[in-house]
């Protein structure tokens, strides 16, 4: 968890800065650019009140869009709802302009395009492109309806190029900055993971070395006794000693988990102690286990120690990633039920005695 936070924060901070910049750009354009044009051409409109109403609709769309993007990446439905309101306002304002001078007095085209840039900024580029095309087609449609002349078409293309290129440039720029932020965040993440792996490898190496040294004292003499014939493989005691040493050898050879300070390691430590007094212990994990808080881990290792102490010759401990957390189970020949810690710290413990074997499961729920 701690590994992800700084990188996520960094990338998030960049993205927020870009978003705020675009909000100011779009709001500024609508107030000064579009608003200025609207006031300047006041006498030319057949209904100034209608144009003002459309300008206010557009302003509301921009305000709603700004709230949406500042709250986080909006889903396609709210994003497109805002974009379509802006598109409708732009087309309506153009349709209500005097036929011959529509392009000259049009304040809405730019604002509609910028609104699209605002709400579709972090979505697929194709969505923004099709939106800008739809806005342009709306204007062209109005022009065709008014009767299109060659000079009008030239004007249309000029305005199209001028407004759309600026909008596309902003979108592409923000996208490039986004990608750079993601890249640097992932580089930091990779570096941190590598550092963690290194630290883990060192911890595991030290633990393995210690176990290897311990085996020198326990497994080697047993093998020597077997070879010399002083230990009889038919003897039950010798067989238990063999089983224990085999379990320890197996763990030494097969240990592969890479999470330092995890519950698995703490359980291994408890198992080591049990093995020293002759218990054969298996520990297995299934699935990617989430990190568990310290108090919950302590409760589970307490249960482990209680069960391992009561077990006579064998115990199996498993850790399984389940839907809501982790299930840690113990199967051991305790002969009786064992006093286990009461449920707390988000950990629930159940047990069931079946003949000689005890099954107990501690479930920790994540949240």
């Amino acid at each position: 968890m701690t590994a992800v936070q700084p990188t996520a924060m960094m990338s998030g901070r960049y993205q927020r800065a870009f978003t705020i910049a675009v909000v100011f750009l779009v709001a500024g354009w609508h107030l000064a650019g579009a608003g200025g044009q609207l006031l300047q051409n006041r006498p030319a409109y057949s209904s100034f009140a209608f144009q003002t109403a459309m300008w206010l609709v557009m302003a509301l769309a921009i305000a709603a869009g700004s709230i949406l993007v500042l709250r986080g990446a909006p889903g396609w439905q709210p994003a497109w709802a805002v974009a379509i309101i802006a598109l409708a306002a732009s087309t309506a304002a153009a349709a209500a302009s005097p036929a011959g001078q529509m392009l000259a007095v049009n304040w809405a085209w730019g604002s509609a395009g910028w609104t699209g840039v605002l709400v579709l900024l972090h979505r697929r580029f194709a969505e923004l492109a099709s939106y800008l095309a739809a806005v342009a087609l709306g204007i062209l449609g109005v022009q065709l309806h008014d009767g299109l002349h060659r000079t009008d078409l030239a004007g249309f293309l000029a305005v199209l190029a001028w407004s759309t290129i600026a909008q596309v440039a902003v979108a592409v720029g923000v996208r490039a900055l986004d990608a750079a932020a993601d890249e640097s965040a992932s580089a930091v993440r990779i570096e941190q993971a590598a550092r963690e792996r290194e630290a883990t490898a060192e911890i595991i190496r030290v633990a393995r070395h210690a176990r290897w040294l311990a085996l020198q004292e326990s497994a080697v003499p047993l093998v020597a006794e077997l070879a010399a014939g002083t230990a009889n493989p038919g003897d039950a005691q010798v067989r238990i000693r063999c089983a224990v040493q085999a379990a320890r050898l197996r763990r030494l050879l097969a240990e592969g988990d890479e999470v330092p300070g995890s519950l698995v390691h703490e359980l291994h430590a408890s198992a080591d102690m049990a093995e020293r007094r002759g218990l054969a212990v298996e520990i297995e994990t299934a699935g990617a286990l989430p990190q568990m808080p310290g108090p919950a881990r302590r409760l589970i290792t307490d249960a482990a120690i209680a069960i391992l102490t009561a077990a006579r010759s064998q115990a199996r401990i498993t850790l399984t990633a389940v839907a809501a957390g982790v299930a840690v189970s113990f199967v051991a020949d305790t002969g009786t039920v064992v006093g286990l810690p009461a449920a707390s710290e988000g950990v629930w413990i159940e047990q069931q005695q079946d003949g000689d074997m005890l099954w107990a499961e501690a479930r920790w729920n994540n949240g």
Binding site: A286, G287, T320, A321, V331, D354, W359
Partner: protein
């Protein structure tokens, strides 16, 4: 008189081959007959007819993983029981996906290998604890959907309970426990790449009543729902 199951061992460590052979010999019913041992796969893929019913295959021969060779063996008519020290769930899943009947880890060999060979010879599922572990850990998008009961039976079996204890814990019979675990395994045979061995496992599971044909392909439910809504049944009050 029932025919004994014939088996070949492919294993590059003679001491392991010797150990497996001794487990086969010490089977009280003498149900399995060892007919061939080899240190690599060259001897097996050449023959026109399979030389054994089941191959016990060590997944690592001379330092190389041979999971990709399983489809060749399966195409040659062999049933494969993988026997390996690699208990990494990803390798177990790849082994099953490539058409092996069962996976037995080296720790489980003494208790499970002969039984797994017998089950494989009959095209019946055999799920070891290490195999249950891989199924529980499976997060691939292509994994089959297991029912809550199937998942719980697999979990308790992986945790180390006997199947009888699993049954008592779940308040069902031991037989039903076997049924749940076998059904989960059969669902795996229905996913991933195709292999004659997987088809045989599935056919046998359907024949044994472990799984119904309708439970195998959850993704056909869309087509079935379409067919149902156009039928008269859907219009009945």
């Amino acid at each position: 008189m029932e025919q004994r199951v014939t088996v070949a061992i492919i294993e590059d460590h003679p001491v392991v081959t010797e150990g497996v052979a001794s487990w086969i010999r010490s089977d009280p019913g003498q149900r399995v007959r060892l007919v061939q041992t080899a240190r690599d796969l060259t001897g097996l893929s050449a023959g026109a007819r399979p030389s054994a019913d089941v191959v016990i295959l060590d997944l690592e021969l001379s330092g190389e993983l041979v999971t990709t060779q399983i489809p060749v063996l399966v195409a040659g008519g062999y049933r494969v029981v993988a026997f390996s020290g690699h208990s990494d769930p990803a390798i177990v899943m790849e082994t099953l996906d490539n058409g092996a009947h069962a996976y037995v880890s080296k720790e489980e060999g003494r208790d499970h290998l002969v039984e797994a060979v017998l089950a494989a010879a009959a095209d019946r599922p055999y799920v070891t604890r290490s195999q249950a572990r891989a199924m529980l850990a499976d997060q691939r998008p292509s994994r089959p959907t297991l029912s809550e009961q199937e998942r719980q039976a697999l979990l308790l079996w992986f945790q180390g309970m006997s199947k009888a204890s699993v049954g008592r814990r779940m308040s069902i019979s031991e037989n039903t426990v076997r049924q749940y675990i076998s059904r989960a395994r059969a669902k795996y045979a229905a996913t991933g790449r195709t292999a004659p061995s997987k088809d045989a496992l599935l056919a046998r599971a359907i024949e044994d009543g472990v799984i119904k044909p309708g439970e195998i392909m959850p993704y056909t439910s869309f087509a079935r729902a379409g067919a149902g809504s156009s039928g008269l049944g859907a219009l009945d009050p």
